[in-house]
Symmetry: C2
Subunit: 403 residues, 2 copies
């Protein structure tokens, strides 16, 4: 795969996209999916989980479009950056190369099978897919589509391996294969991520929960603050870059909190405030301490009032999950200090937390948002699925001998 | 530390460098070192190990120079790359920031205490130093010098913590502190690295052994090949970027191997060849299979003859340690294919493997050569001790609303 041409990789992706809208293939995938859905219903899974599992023609067509978008992205592999001549006479550069073999561990959404495989393949990696047992038939059918496409385009079909057994011990064994696997990426709830991190001896990049804040600084424009917070909370409350907590500077809280509460309540958001917030908006629910460490993923939002800028940064340090943090302010110095001081994969000034997304930040498709600082911090696009090695172009140079 | 100014960090490094040549401090360090050396001699450690442990005024002066070199390097923290405007109206960039807390686990050389601390501090990281028990007194004294310098320059002295207890269980506990430690770097033999990797739940970057090859292609210039191999093997045989094995293309082996054997033998190198190599140079020792998977770190070199280019790449895949691999050839296409196909932290054309070094490649001081593909593949300089977060400069933008 490391030496696969861009043309062959793109051809494989075209074949996958075409298959996902070809009636014979679609009906095979939907039949497999129906088995999973029937099993899930019989087992009494919640309607939300059953919905996550369910495929239909429209969802497969959306998946096909996603694959075509990945095909259209530039191939990250093989380019050489920063080629410079050194005093010894050698030229030194850094060539972008695939990571190698990536193990993706995921839960019930079967579209991850195709999404993750397509991104890994485009970056020249081999991928081992280990999905949840609820989606076993669907995942097997989708992985079969990708493997067939690889074969048809002259690439090794084993560049995509589907682990056709959701046994935990088997997974834990894979996570220890340091000689064969270069990276494991768990995608799912915190229990899955914790289990992978505990068991793995291979490197892991975590996509952990987003406990994201918007801090309304004393010098904030209040219209901007309201607009940003409403968007950050309401536009899609169930995703990791939605805001879970507002921090309001004490100096501006009396002017801002009542209007914010009105705006959010009108959109069905339940507010849970600390004592100072409730002093200004008595209709707020009282927040329990745990509310400030919770990823609600719903129309619930915690509210805290803080003394000043330093207290806000301290609050974020203590309660944030290093995912996405925003400040609203017109004070340039406060904005710049917040950018530098706050430790999160994406730090924003006067913009919604919802922008922490591969597409919005300009990376194209993404495999998720890493909260691991090493290698990839933030959305993982194609480039983050590669690494760089040093390359040296010489003319017979030896070390320690004058050129 | 994350917000520490370049000035304060450089001041601390200046104070460290000055202390390492100040008589009162020097005599304190040497007295502590004398305790370690006496204990090592009494315990019957080999003279080579005792020498690694030993400090004197010249070695401390060299350490002071190394610290001044780190001080002179540009501060990697705070710069923003790739600031671009997005269609939504936001500006997106990537700010270089410290990793956080780095745990360095090392063996008997006490200079690592100062080297590693200086690099980590300059990159804005806090560092936890856990050295070997043979060097406990020396390391404690050196860490004390760095801590005093931090305090004197107004930085938190706990940005450098020395683990004053070489107990293994204590180390294993530290390696599981995922909430407090962002990265562990083991520096030492393979047993140490394997133990750290086995125990760690925090991310680990390995600096593993170098089983490095020079491949003499059919189209090699034979003078260049001889010069490169002699340098790669003989200039410093005990380091990780020294070559351990020569692979010679069958087409050129009859012309090249006899002269190579003569050149290396004249410099005291013992050659261990496979059957084909010994067919051409009968005076070579017979290589055992394990010789092709050994980091000799001495004047011993394995020699193999291969059929062609593909066989050479396969040989490197099988026996290399992803550290440093070189080809000697005048065939442009073979050179470019080798660069692309061979998976190692540094791949060279017509140059000695000894160039895989932070100073030679242009990174300045380094913490070692990573053979982990994630985050840093190859020499780890200051930049590799940082990460990048996304920063967004907005004007009140919200997602999903046209700008």
């Amino acid at each position: 795969m490391q030496a696969a041409s861009t043309g062959a990789k793109n051809r494989a992706l075209q074949i996958v996209a075409a298959a996902l809208t070809t009636p014979a293939t679609v009906s095979g995938i939907l039949a497999a999916n129906a088995v999973d859905v029937a099993t899930a219903v019989a087992a009494g899974l919640s309607p939300a989980l059953v919905d996550r599992l369910k495929l239909d023609e429209a969802r497969l067509a959306a998946l096909a479009r996603a694959v075509r978008e990945i095909e259209a992205l530039p191939d990250p592999v093989g380019g050489i950056d920063d080629l410079v001549a050194r005093p010894s006479g050698i030229q030194v550069g850094r060539m972008r190369v695939p990571l190698g073999v990536v193990l993706i561990v995921y839960e019930s959404r079967p579209n991850v099978t195709v999404d993750a495989a397509a991104l890994c393949l485009k970056a020249g990696n081999a991928v081992v897919l280990r999905g949840g047992k609820e989606a076993l038939h669907s995942n097997r059918a989708l992985a079969g589509v990708v493997r067939a496409a690889l074969k048809e385009s002259g690439l090794p079909e084993d560049a995509v391996v589907f682990v056709d057994d959701a046994d935990r011990e088997l997974l834990y064994g894979l996570l220890k294969r340091t000689a064969e696997i270069d990276l494991a990426i768990p995608r799912g709830g915190t229990a899955l991520i914790d289990a992978v991190n505990e068991q793995a001896r291979v490197p892991v990049i975590q996509h952990y929960q987003g406990i994201c804040h918007v801090y309304v600084h004393a010098a904030a424009d209040l219209d901007t603050a309201e607009r940003v917070i409403v968007n950050a909370k309401v536009s899609r409350p169930g995703v990791c870059n939605a805001a879970e907590c507002v921090i309001v500077d004490a100096a501006i809280a009396p002017a801002f909190l009542p209007r914010l509460a009105a705006a959010l309540s009108a959109r069905g958001v339940e507010l849970r405030g600390d004592e100072r917030a409730r002093g200004l908006v008595p209709s707020m629910h009282a927040a329990a301490p745990a509310d400030f460490d919770t990823e609600f993923l719903s129309l619930v939002m915690a509210v805290a009032v803080v003394d000043d800028f330093d207290a806000a940064v301290t609050f974020v340090d203590r309660h944030g999950s290093r995912h996405t943090e925003a400040i609203v302010t017109n004070d340039h110095s406060a904005a710049m200090t917040f950018l530098r001081r706050v430790d999160a994969s994406c730090v924003l000034v006067n913009a919604s937390t919802r922008f922490n997304d591969g597409g919005e930040l300009g990376l194209g498709a993404e495999l998720g948002i890493s909260t691991t600082k090493l290698h990839a911090y933030g959305p993982m696009g194609l480039q983050e699925l590669t690494t760089r090695k040093f390359v040296v172009l010489g003319h017979g140079e030896t070390r320690g001998t004058p050129p």
